[in-house]
Amino acid sequence: MNIAAVIEEAELHQGAASTAEEAGPAPKRTVVAYGFWIFLLSDIVMFSALFAGYAVLARATAGGPAGPALFNQTNVALETACLLASSYTCGLMALAIGSRRRGATYLFALITFVLGAAFLALELREFADMIAQGATPQRSAFLSAFFTLVGCHGLHVTAGLIWLAVMMAQVAIKGLRANVERRLICFSLFWHALDIVWVALFTVVYLMGVRP
């Protein structure tokens, strides 16, 4: 049997039992997003180490201020609302990119950016308040772990905001080319992953932390 016949045979079978193996190499878009998915999982593994450190040290307040005195639940609820809403608009942005609507892409990117910036502003205000009360990272092991964990998430959000601004400049200058689109897909994955980390964070740090 020659090669052409084998290929023809394979194509005949494809309709009946089509699997990923028979289809050949995946498109670049899939490979890039899968690679970025692996990076995100490794990032989450890094966060898990910070979470473990926080959980171990949460009671080690060294006579200093503890969670119930420091955490403001209204502030946390506002931060959560901002980040969740920005995750939603980021999803809508991904859909707008998929259907090549440039105006909607800019609009949803702008809303995502504003909500992310609002989250960051609330978090920085909270940090400033805590430090003004003397609850600095060097006060106790609990506060060191708190600022490391929450600050690391805040740094990720900052990086995400810079990335989003750069991507919008690329859309404006280069247009929705294939490589720009791939970067935007990676950005939306990154942003959703940050929201998942925040879910663990507000549960473990804030909601469990305000309980005596």
Partner: protein, 131 residues
């Protein structure tokens, strides 16, 4: 044609077809996800503050709610499914979850065990840990 030709990347809801109806249903998926996430978040905040529940059970309830919400985010925002085109994504995720579980549960287990093995009363031990 079939959908299962290629593996699907995380974040890709469906193969791009450009149909208007598809775009509407994709918005619907994100909206359902948002609604579920809002409900679960609100429940978490309520559980943490209500005096109605048995206090020792609250921590466990909060963990269950958080895991449920992470699941909602994975399914509705990152579009991780159980389909054959998603096997690679799910396997990578499963490995990630295994490592996260080992790191968190292992650290907590070892540290609690260490504290228990120290022949010191808990208050003294806590003081010792604070240095």
């Amino acid at each position: 044609m079939t959908d299962a030709h290629y593996d699907r990347a995380p974040g890709n809801s469906s193969p791009p077809t450009g149909e208007e109806a598809d775009a509407r249903s994709a918005v619907g998926v994100y909206t359902i996800g948002l609604a579920l996430a809002v409900i679960l978040t609100a429940t978490s905040f309520w559980v943490a503050n209500t005096p109605l529940l048995w206090p020792p059970g609250v921590a466990l309830g909060l963990i269950v709610l958080a895991i449920a919400q992470m699941g909602v985010h994975l399914v509705f925002f990152l579009h991780i499914t159980t389909g054959p085109d998603n096997t690679n994504n799910v396997l990578a995720l499963a490995f990630g979850i295994l490592i996260v579980f080992l790191v968190v549960a292992g650290s907590l287990w070892i540290m609690t065990d260490l504290n228990d093995s120290m022949m010191m009363p808990p208050e003294l031990m806590n003081l010792h840990m604070q240095r």
